[in-house]
Amino acid sequence: MGTQQAGDAFLRNLDGLRGHTVASRPSWLGELRGAALGRFTRLGFPTTRQEEWRFTDLSRMLSIRFEPACGGASDGLASEAWALVHALPGPRVVLVDGHFRADLSVTAAGRGIVVDSLCRVLRDSPGLLAPHLAHYAPWREHPFVALNTGLATEGVFVQLAAGAVQEEPVHLVHLWTAAGKARVAHPRALILAEPNSRAAIVESYWGSHGSVSLTNAVTEIVVGRGAVLEHAKLQEEGDEAFHMATVQVHQQSRSSFTSHVVFLGGSLARNEINIRLEGRRCRCTLNGLYWARGRQHMDLRTRIDHAQPACASEELYKGILDERARGVFNGKIYVHRAAQQTDAKQTNRALVLSDQARVNTKPQLEIFADDVRCTHGATVGQIEPEAMFYLRSRGIAERRARQLLIWAFANDVVGRIGLAPLRTAVEQLLTAGDGLSVGPVAGRLP
């Protein structure tokens, strides 16, 4: 089936959705949804003939009959998910199969801070959402963002009032339960950090192996003047999961934003993070790690728009490709004419472990201002023989030396995660099962 036909079938399945399950009140929301779905119909699903989708073929995903997810039971959920939930004692919003679970969530937060389900906020104080919802993510251009905007039924709202400081990280948990049917959810998050506020927010996505699901997520983040926000996204969905996501970030002057993206799960997973530096003297740091095995396809994209002067961005993305996996990285730095004194640095590295694995890397610089310092570096390669020899010459067996070096490659990114519980959770995911048996120094070494 071609992408076009598959897309049509996909849409026919979704037709039943319109109107009844999706909230269309207040009226601005109904209009927005109508416009977004109209836009989606015109855009259609992307095909590999489009530059931005050249290496990511959606036809298999689009040939599946997805049904809107019903609220699931909380049993049978990944224990790693609960380990992380318990390790992060702060406020949390838990969505199970795309539905808000008040019983699992903790919405009490610090002074001047709102953490809640999007539907509850829509019901109780829609005025908070109207000036922001769908004002940032590109629903007019991006078909999956349009689809989410049209069909999102639930999500998360986080608001930090000016000067508010949220000490404990906020955890947004997305869980898929095991099920026989293919299900789709369009979770939406809106995060508003008002001037001089400070917080850390973790989004984690979990699933069950053998269950087919599609997460089509959109997260909109506004980092106000002087605000400091750390955002981490961990994706560890099941082996039959599809994950399509856009994280849209707008930074105002002197704000600081740090992102960590860790993609380990899913069959076909794509994450786009778009940063617009819209004020002077912003700082932005993007770290990313993906590890694809089996036949996993991972597509990680970043775009940083330097729209104002004197901003600095730094980016490190790394990928590990094993077995028959396919990795795609696309990183763009766009320096607008006004953005003088831009300092942008991007590094992308891929480690290819198998002769069946493939990687496509495209780092891009587009620069329209002259007083800038922009660099990017990209490497693709295998484990360095020199490093291998160094470890073996110290008595470490070949297999284990290999594990240590893979670990080191990944840890270069993981080590940058500031939140210790999250870092530990990621380390454990990396070293679990048939992964890397290199525990921390404390006792786990063979």
């Binding site: 160094y390 010459s393 110290r394 470490i396 080191a408």
Partner: protein, 257 residues
């Protein structure tokens, strides 16, 4: 402890070593000197097990066992240690974790119990303090962002932790200032034992004022052209490597069997 017999080595089509004979006994310190490109580092790397070099002829015995058939890690576990001339940097892997993995692999091989984290940390702190190494370096990724001197000191520190029987120091003195050189030499001297041998590869006599060798060998164009006592190093310091051709003629038969 180490017997090298008629060792020929090449890289690609290019012969590097053309028949090396060398015997090192337990407790001895041997210095290998020679100009750049004479094959000093090649000899060190071949003993450590680097596979970019092709041994075309000859044998190497370590404690009576053919060394060339062993994997690099087997050699290390049996007590062969090389301090690298250019230690590789490994971003993301801390010095501590790396060395803990190495030490326990070696201890396991020797039938010793593995060290747990607490004992291990105590051990490495002690060794680091002895080598006047900044404790901060221990948690940094292996050799990443280390200065030249820090890298060399880190190599000697690893040697102190792993306690080898045969240690090969490949140009450990290069890039060290006089203070660092003294610290490194001190470290080496403190590790001298009746059961342990050293091969010190160096371009200059300087290091040998601090680590006094029992034997000095001069390597020139892939062959040992002269061998002698520690005074040979001083002689070379005075006359340079220029007179080697003459020396080769005078001393055609190697001093060692």
């Amino acid at each position: 402890m180490l017997i090298v017999k008629n060792l020929h080595v090449r890289v690609g089509d290019k012969p590097i070593l053309r028949g090396i004979d060398l015997e090192v006994h337990a407790g001895e310190v041997h210095a290998i000197m020679g100009p750049n490109g004479s094959g000093k580092s090649t000899l060190a790397q071949v003993i450590a097990g680097r596979d970019t070099y092709e041994v075309t002829q000859g044998e190497v015995y370590y404690e009576g066992v053919p060394l060339l058939e062993m994997e690099p890690e087997e050699r290390a576990r049996e007590g062969v240690f090389m301090a690298f001339q250019y230690p590789v940097a490994i971003p993301g892997l801390s010095n501590t974790r790396f060395l803990h993995a190495a030490l326990n692999a070696i201890r396991k091989h020797r039938g010793l119990p593995e060290l747990d984290a607490i004992d291990f940390l105590a051990l490495i702190r002690e060794k680091a303090a002895f080598l006047q190494m900044d404790a901060g370096l221990l948690e940094r990724p292996v050799n990443e962002g280390f200065s030249g001197g820090e890298k060399k000191r880190n190599e000697i520190f690893q040697m102190a932790v792993l306690q080898p029987r045969l240690a090969i120091l490949d140009e450990t003195d290069s890039g060290l200032d006089i203070d660092a050189l003294k610290i490194v030499a001190n470290g080496v001297n403190s590790l001298r034992r009746p059961g342990r041998a050293f091969i010190v590869v160096t371009h200059y006599q300087r290091l040998l004022s601090y680590i006094v060798p029992d034997r000095v060998h001069v390597l020139y164009e892939g062959s040992i052209v002269r061998s002698g006592g520690k005074e040979l190093a001083l002689e070379l310091e005075a006359s340079g490597y220029g007179g080697l051709q003459r020396g080769a003629a005078r001393d055609a038969a190697p001093a060692l069997p």
